[in-house]
């Protein structure tokens, strides 16, 4: 009986393929697929071209860079821009500043957002809803709109040219709070109650239950927070004036000399600045994609 059914299916499939209208449909789908693929490749090339251009330019001698005309492949290769950036600038200190500020920002943003998300999601206290609305409202204010206030505040606290001055204004992360709240809301309450009966305090509930149960989201948010902090330019550029306190992104502006802008050096520094982030992205590609989807409001 089953063999008959299989035969029937095979015969059905054969008939389906042999049907000319189906052939036309398949061909049409193939053409649409091909068009989409070509378009995707074109967009990808378009998007990747500036990176390619920066990379290629960073290996050119400065005279070749400013030469008229488009030179897609360097006529002469040189590491001059890289050797200059690596050995004649304070890029080591800039890297250190970037690493310290980005790690501290990541740690504090994640810890505070998780705690805030947990409190809003799980605790009952007066003003909880108001607090939640305030956090939602703060999401609508672009951070650059507050940058003058931040500068005045940091100046009054005498935090200009300090790591704390770079870090503090970057701790405003309503999106992270919202994502944590959303995830903590979805944890079945039985887990919480079982842990409460087991004797867990609120802090133990957060750090031993809710955070470990949502480890994936914490990893994803940490990566995106780190990348965000590493790529910060405007605020570190404003709050640091001493070369010893620059982040690597701000350092890019310092590789000029008395004769003006040096494009190859700037692009070499930019590539060196972006290298750690690119490596992190390559290692944690899936988690980063998940984080981007989350911040776009799609729960992965």
């Amino acid at each position: 009986m089953s063999a008959l059914t299989l035969d029937d299916r095979a015969a059905g499939a054969h008939v389906a393929v042999a049907d000319p209208s189906n052939w036309n449909r398949i061909k049409q789908l193939d053409r649409i697929g091909l068009f989409i693929t070509v378009m995707t490749v074109v967009v990808a090339v378009f998007w990747a071209f500036p990176i390619y251009w920066a990379l290629v330019t960073s290996f050119k001698p400065e005279q070749d860079v400013v030469r008229p005309g488009i030179e897609l492949w360097p006529e002469r290769f040189t590491f001059e821009a890289y050797t200059f950036t690596l050995f004649q600038t304070k890029i080591g200190i800039w890297y250190l500043n970037s690493i310290v500020t980005s790690l501290v920002v990541t740690f504090l943003v994640i810890t505070m957002s998780a705690a805030a998300g947990y409190a809003i999601s799980q605790l009952e206290f007066p003003g909880r809803k108001l607090l939640w609305w305030l956090i939602l409202a703060s999401f609508m204010i672009p951070i650059p709109a507050l940058i003058v206030n931040h500068f005045v505040l940091m100046s009054q606290f005498k935090l200009i040219n300090t790591w704390a001055g770079v870090i503090l204004p970057q701790l405003i992360a309503p999106v992270t709070v919202m994502i944590y709240k959303q995830f903590f809301d979805s944890v079945p309450k039985d887990f919480r109650e079982a842990a409460v009966i087991d004797g867990a305090t609120e802090l133990q509930l957060l750090f031993r239950l809710y955070l470990p149960m949502n480890w994936g989201i914490t990893t994803a948010l940490s990566i995106i927070a780190f990348i965000g902090a590493w790529n910060q330019f405007l605020w570190p550029f404003l709050v640091t004036t001493s070369e010893n306190m620059f982040n690597v992104t701000v350092g890019i502006t310092q590789v000029t000399d008395a004769f003006g802008v040096k494009y190859a050096r700037q692009l070499a520094t930019a590539i060196l600045a972006g290298l750690p982030v690119a490596l992190i992205y390559l290692i944690f590609q899936r988690k980063v994609t998940q984080a981007i989807m989350l911040t776009a409001g799609i729960k992965g």
Partner: protein, 361 residues
């Protein structure tokens, strides 16, 4: 082990009254089942004992100490949830050790205790697995292990078997019964399954709309239901109910008339006379009704068979009577065809008379 006492307990969510002025005493070492349909407040009551729900009014005592406002962790209770609530990021060992770890117990002592519990529940080969790698029955045992390790005074079970398949449910039921025999700890068990309640508990509390409908031993509830609700809820298949009218009351006996000009004399249990109206219902369990010759003098009521279900050890015969449909339980060898005219004989001492207010007369 400790006794559990609730005095005049009420629970309200806004204007919705879930539990109303409820008094309950569970003796130490007993196995008490809270039984009732969905929404009757049985889980709320259990959660109030656990401390997971605040008590709106009244007092709760565990082991004679008032715990009305005591946090759950300090009540010396352990709870097994319907969903098991095993922490998914921890292994079986991690789950069992969780409470000890929170309390700051040394690792070696935690492992020793966890191993003892694992041995008792045959969890030893599963200790390093995560909950997702366990079957339903294994998860259930881990949940019990996690409760056991706390050495509680009272075990609270919230429908712990309802997620298991029928076969596993029977197995776990036996394991729970054995566990209670071994530990002799007070256990309070919430279920809507009367078979679980009847087989496990030595005291059943039937709840209806946030009130205790009846409390007693399983057989008390089965044989002497206090009201129509308990009579209908306990027993499978459910009790037959036939509308009737009281003709005469003579001391502890009452003559009742059924539709179709038939009557019988029954023994009453309480006052012997219906309150207010003489509209009654006579309840009789399927096993207390017997098929007889319709023309026999033993016939209480006549009817015609509609469906016959033969289960091997027993046979259920569905009979249409002038008073409504009835179920008769016969032995497994009973042979009868649908559409047969039959006489039904009631065991008068096993029939229950319920007044218009639903209370037994």
């Amino acid at each position: 082990m400790a006794s559990v006492e609730l005095k005049n307990i009420s629970k309200r969510y806004g204007s919705v009254q879930v539990i109303s002025n409820l008094d309950l005493f569970v003796e130490e070492g007993s196995f008490c089942a809270l039984l009732g349909p969905s929404g009757c407040g049985k889980s709320t009551l259990l959660r109030m004992i656990a401390g997971l729900e605040a008590i709106t009014e009244g007092q709760a005592f565990i082991g004679g100490n008032e715990v009305t406002n005591t946090p759950p962790a300090k009540r010396r209770v352990a709870m097994v949830f319907q969903s098991y609530a095993l922490y998914p990021h921890l292994t079986v060992r991690g789950n069992i050790c969780f409470s000890m770890s929170l309390a700051g117990m040394p690792k070696a002592a935690q492992n020793e205790r966890a191993d003892q519990v694992a041995k008792m529940l045959q969890l030893e080969p599963l200790m390093e697995r995560r909950p997702a790698q366990l079957s339903g029955g294994q998860r259930q045992r881990v949940a019990i292990g996690r409760a056991l390790v706390r050495d509680p005074e009272v075990f609270l079970f919230d429908e712990p078997l309802s997620n298991l398949d029928a076969l596993l449910r029977v197995q776990m039921r036996l394991e729970l019964a054995k566990l209670h025999q071994d530990l002799k700890t007070t256990m309070i068990y919430v279920t809507h399954d009367q078979v679980e309640a009847m087989t496990l508990a030595d005291k059943i509390v039937v709840l209806d709309k946030g009130r205790i409908s009846q409390a007693g031993t399983p057989l008390e509830l089965y044989n002497f239901p206090a009201n129509r609700f308990v009579a209908s809820f306990i027993g499978s298949p459910a009790m037959n109910f036939l509308p009737a009218t009281a003709e005469s009351v003579n001391g502890e006996t009452m003559k009742v008339n059924f539709a179709g000009d038939t009557s019988m004399t029954l023994q009453t249990r309480n006052s012997g006379s219906p309150a207010g109206s003489n509209k009654l219902e006579v309840g009789i369990r399927p096993e207390h009704v017997h098929l007889v010759d319709p023309d026999s003098s033993q016939t209480t009521i006549k009817g015609k068979t509609t469906i016959v279900e033969q289960l091997g050890n027993t046979t259920f015969v569905y009979v249409d009577t002038p008073s409504g449909p009835m179920i008769v339980e016969g032995d497994g060898s009973l042979q009868i065809a649908p559409g047969t005219n039959v006489g039904l004989q009631f065991e008068p001492k096993r029939a229950h008379v319920f007044g218009a207010d639903g209370m037994v007369i």
